[in-house]
Amino acid sequence: MKKRFNKSALIMGLYILFLMLPIYWLINMSLKTNNEILGTFSLWPQNLTFANYMVIFTDPSWYWGYINSIIYVVMNTVISLAVALPAAYAFSRYNFMGDKHLFFWLLTNRMAPPAVFALPFFQLYSSVGLFDTHIAVALAHTLFNVPLAVWILEGFMRGVPKEIDETAYIDGYGFFRFFAKIFTPLIASGIGVAAFFCFMFSWVELLLSRTLTAVDAKSIAATMTRTVSASGLDWGVLSAAGVLTIIPGALVIYFVRHHIAKGFALGRV
């Protein structure tokens, strides 16, 4: 028993080392000056500096990138959950005309490559005057987040026995009161997981958010890739920006860590 544990620990250790090494290198870079990055090769910063981070916190074109990203990510999460909750309930509880086809059709939107939609989105949102607004990116991201949220929530709702609904209706609860007072608390962890996934996929996406924004709603991802192409390469600041994008993700993971495995299985374990 003891021996097997050690072998497992070794394998896990190696895997986590493989995952952490590139991230460590990014942090390492972000704490060096550009002279040091290009001049000497060292495993840790020789002259520790926070100047790269200060650039980001003091330059509006950098820190607005983060604010813009967070605004549209939150908008997207709220919209996605608001429409996905009733739909998931319908799919998990009732048979209705065309339900199976509808469900698969929803999923096909998750399978649509964003590259296919980049140009039509640009034209659609330009023509209705939403180009370069947060809501445009939030709506565009519902393309893949709504199907995913419906899928996850449906999986969680299937786990709640139908008898609970029936008992509540017999006790005189109306649909909306039942949904808010009884059903929602029962699938709270499912809602948390769905929110987590909407947050995650909206946060990591680059192509659509870059195509749909120019100045006012420019996302941090777009800011980073444009810096690369425009003004040569400022490795230190770029690394610092990268490190700062990892932090929100790490925080959210910590909060949902007990449900994350089930969530990745889309509630189907």
């Binding site: 497992s8 394998i11 895997y15 986590i16 995952l19 952490m20 090494l21 590139p22 991230i23 290198w25 990014l26 870079m29 990055i37 090769f41 495993l43 919209i79 429409v83 996905a84 739909a87 319908a90 799919f91 509880r93 009732y94 048979n95 209705f96 698969f104 096909t108 939107n109 399978m111 649509a112 490559p113 964003p114 590259a115 296919v116 140009l119 989105f121 709506l139 519902t142 393309l143 709504v146 995650m200 990591v204 680059l206 192509l207 941090i220 991802a221 980073m224 690369v228 490795w235 770029l238 990268g242 993700g249 790490a250 993971i253 007990h258 994350i260 495995a261 990745f264 299985a265 374990v269």
Partner: protein
Amino acid sequence: MKTVNQKAWFLVLPVLLLVGFSAVIPLMTVVNYSVQDTFGNNVFYWVGLEWFEEILHSERMHNALGRQVIFTTIIMLIEIPLGIFISLHMPQKGVWASVCLVLIALPLLIPWNVVGTIWQIFGRIDIGLLGYSLNALGIDYNYVQNATAAWITIVIMDVWHWTSLVVLLCYAGLQSIPDAYYQAAKIDQASRWNVFRYIELPKMMGVLLIASLLRFMDSFMIYTEPFVLTGGGPGNVTTFLSIDLVKMAIGQFDLGPAAAFSLIYFLTILLISWVFYTIMTNIDKREGI
């Protein structure tokens, strides 16, 4: 059993309206472009299936598709077995389980362009740990100029980025196996391999299918990471379907061919995903969920 209730349509209506706006209208635009040509000034005329024929016979599309299929096959052959293997060695409970979960999930939450940046820096021969060490060992490695090195870097980057997804899914599957199964296996003196083959693997089938479906879809539409890391180069060797499509649609503004390309691309993914999905729902039904 579920009851039949047509009023359930009202609950689905908001989703339909939203997805109708954000998916159907743009898709119709694409269909519209795919059968028309223009000389500018917003004057379009009907060309029928010409663009489809052109794209289906174009070498550029064939090459991009070939690269895409090779890439998806390689990363799935690595990530699925590796993910199963790692998940079998995850600690089951306690503080370490939480720590491992958080650390393993971390790469999944990093914005895709930052994943590209991380590997761009990590692999560079002058400032990156990987590139510098390999060259110090006398291995000729430079992902900017060497096609093989670029491919290896992209594959390793994808394994780094997404193996954790397979691990987490398998881990969730393993957690759902009751202890009694293992005790029975112990009484029968089953070998480690037999426990895996007859208890763990069947229980993981469902989540493994979800993992394969997700990995297939996402790797088939990969754009951001190779775009940041290599920009499709050196030359064209890492230009996958999405990169090629964006070049065609937004770079060169060839609306007709790009639209035809889009539809063929989308339908290919749909077809393969539909096969996965059908197998998946059949398994769900057999288990009576």
